[in-house]
């Protein structure tokens, strides 16, 4: 692994093309094993959902008043995972950050598939999945429109907009690279990629409008990514429930989303870089930046956790202080301390350069962060509902086997699409990698790489 973006960079555009597309449609044993595992997990999740559809939500672990369980926890988790992709592809594009180039395509793919996964959970949580169209405003004879004053309806619009814009941004970025794959393939494969490339041939007219549009997509996606998790946080913060009703939720949720998303990028990209030998394009320089992003957002989260406790204590509100002290000492204390360890303590070794440039340390700590961020949502969702104002309603929620199965299935679903993406689409942005390579020049004119 090299520690600079310039190290080991290919010397020609053709070499970059070859390096990046050589792995397409050539599944190796490792990929096949992972794909079978992911598909099996996904099918198990489908079976569990079939059981839930057959028998109803009774086989989930809901225990009144805890009527938001693992489905909402995992929904928020997957929405959060998606955020790093848009941060890297849109915000870092707007600020012209060079380290985004190698990692943004895979991160964008991760975003699209993570949001696809997140979108499943409100439907699963409904129980009666066939009534999902009730989410959307549609004309009907009863004049019964959705309630746009509800944060849950804001969420429907935020997540569906986020998915649409992310998918468009992802696909538009892919078009010039699909043309490269088309021009390097033959037969039926060439025909398929020709259709996907939409007749892209790199004319000045195409590049001119493409670059204009790409900047606008980035400019639209940047505020969107900040708004989406803010809206998700309002699902909680707008409710008058102790532990939820807080103004710090939007920045706290956005920081958490970027934290978990960057950790997931490390988890996914590190093995991929070694498996595909892509060290010339993605190397420790990129992972170090991702680790620094995690460190920054971990600091913000740690501060937010502290502020929540300070507010609970300083407000002298018995319910507020009651829920926060119960979180750390009550029946769900184990989940709270897992969260604190994974999100506040585990990333600290990344302050040392030796640790954040060590592949094993990066990978293991990123897994801890992923676990910690799932437990953060578990803490927020479950503990506040389990310990509400009236002690007579205090309850305990146990995740049922069906819920475990559906949660495992969601990881399988995500893995299925991500692995398929790695084999069929360029996971590194070829056109943007070419911008990093000094162009071929013959004369004395010296033309810099961008």
């Amino acid at each position: 692994m090299h520690e600079s973006i310039d190290a080991n960079r290919p010397d020609s555009y053709a070499a970059a093309n070859r390096d990046i597309i050589r792995v397409l449609l050539k599944p190796n044993l490792g990929w096949a094993v992972l794909f079978i595992i992911a598909t099996s997990m996904m099918l198990y999740g489908f079976w569990c959902e079939f059981q839930q559809l057959t028998w109803g939500l009774g086989i989930a672990g809901y225990n009144p008043p805890i009527m938001w369980g693992v489905y909402i926890v995992t929904f928020v988790f997957w929405v959060g995972i998606g955020h790093a992709g848009t941060l890297i592809s849109a915000i870092l594009f707007l600020v012209r950050s060079r380290w985004r180039t190698g990692v943004y395509r895979a991160s964008e793919g991760m975003t699209v598939f993570a949001v696809m996964t997140a979108l499943l959970f409100p439907v699963l949580h409904l129980g009666r999945a066939w009534q999902v169209y009730w989410f959307f405003p549609y004309p009907n004879q009863r004049y019964l429109w959705v309630n746009f004053k509800s944060p849950l309806m804001w969420d429907v619009f935020a997540i569906s907009t986020y998915f649409t814009v992310s998918a468009v941004f992802f696909f538009i970025g892919l078009v010039p690279d699909l043309a490269v794959v088309r021009d390097h393939s033959t037969g039926l494969v060439k025909k398929i990629y020709a259709v996907l490339a939409l007749g892209w041939h790199g004319t000045d007219r195409q590049w001119y409008h493409y670059m204009g549009a790409y900047g606008f997509f980035a400019a639209l996606a940047a505020p969107l990514v900040l708004s989406v998790h803010s809206v998700v946080s309002w699902d909680f913060a707008m409710a008058v429930t102790a532990g939820w009703h807080s103004t710090i939720f939007p920045p706290y949720f956005v920081a958490g989303a970027i934290f978990s998303g960057c950790a997931m990028v490390i988890t996914l990209l590190l093995p991929m870089t070694y498996a595909f030998k892509w060290h010339a394009y993605v190397n420790m320089w990129h992972f170090e930046h991702l680790a620094k992003m995690c460190l920054l957002t971990s600091g913000i989260l740690t501060y937010a956790y502290g502020v929540e406790y300070f507010i609970g204590w300083y407000s002298q509100n018995a319910y507020e202080w009651g829920i926060f002290s119960w979180r750390a000492t009550g029946e769900y204390a184990w989940a709270f301390w897992i969260m604190v360890f994974c999100n506040c303590v585990a990333p600290l070794p990344w302050y040392f350069r030796k640790v954040r440039t060590n592949p094993w340390a990066l990978f293991i700590i990123s897994i801890f962060v992923n676990i910690g961020m799932w437990f953060e949502r578990f803490n927020i969702v479950i503990s506040s509902l389990a310990h509400q104002f009236d002690p007579a309603t205090h309850a305990y929620y146990r995740i049922s086997p069906i819920e475990y199965g559906i949660m495992i299935g969601s990881f399988g679903w995500f893995g299925f699409w991500f692995l398929l993406f790695l084999q069929t689409l360029p996971a590194i942005a070829i056109a943007e990698i070419k911008e990093m390579i000094a162009p071929p020049v013959r004369g004395a004119a010296h033309v810099e790489a961008k």
Binding site: P137, F148, K149, S150, W154, H201, G202, D204, W207, V447
Partner: protein
């Protein structure tokens, strides 16, 4: 159809392939100096020097699509929320006004982004001419997605053909094709 239009419509394809960016830029400049227009530049990546030379800093009109999309979106968000709430004003959840702008601002914001992005996509498709499956075959050169550049005229008038060929070869084109015939080629380039 005027005589000039008839000449252009019946013109000849001519294309030069370049291996070097500086040669391509020289070719574009020479063509502009000679007052010859109507060419397309082929490139494996978006180089700002090429776009600057061809479009001279003019911004893409796609931006207007984004603006119209954004304005359409914010109005759609406002109308959708306000009109649906007004259709049955008896339902008043949360004790808020029937048309309550603060909660509706979230929907208006999301619609602004959504419509802005979709209109931008539409603008991109229209202005880029996508899907471009019917592009002239001289613009479909697989070498361009690899590492070569090109200057192509789809219909060069007969009086310009010789001048164009001379400019392309003088500025370092490694291959020049006229119609379907290669009229100039640098061996092993």
């Amino acid at each position: 159809m005027s005589a000039a239009h008839a000449e252009v419509a019946s013109g000849t394809r001519i294309k030069g392939i370049y291996a070097h960016l500086d040669c391509l830029l020289a070719g574009i400049e020479k063509l502009k100096e000679a007052g010859i227009s109507g060419f397309q530049v082929l490139s494996p990546l978006p180089r700002h020097e090429i776009l600057e030379a061809v479009y001279e800093g003019r911004p893409s009109p796609v931006r207007w699509w984004t603006l119209v999309g954004g304005i359409t979106g914010i109005n759609t968000g406002l109308l959708l929320t306000s009109l649906t709430a007004s259709q049955w004003p008896m339902i008043n959840p949360g004790g808020k006004p029937v048309v309550a702008l603060p909660p509706y601002a979230v929907i208006m914001f999301e619609c602004t982004i959504l419509f802005g992005a979709l209109f931008t996509l539409a603008g991109l498709i229209v202005h880029c001419g996508l899907p471009g499956f019917g592009l002239d075959k001289s613009l479909q050169d697989p070498r361009v997605s690899d590492d070569k550049f090109g200057i192509a005229f789809l219909r060069a008038s007969a009086k310009d053909l010789e001048r164009i060929a001379a400019i392309l070869s003088d500025t370092g084109a490694i291959e020049i094709t006229r119609g379907d015939d290669t009229i100039y080629e640098v061996p092993n380039a």
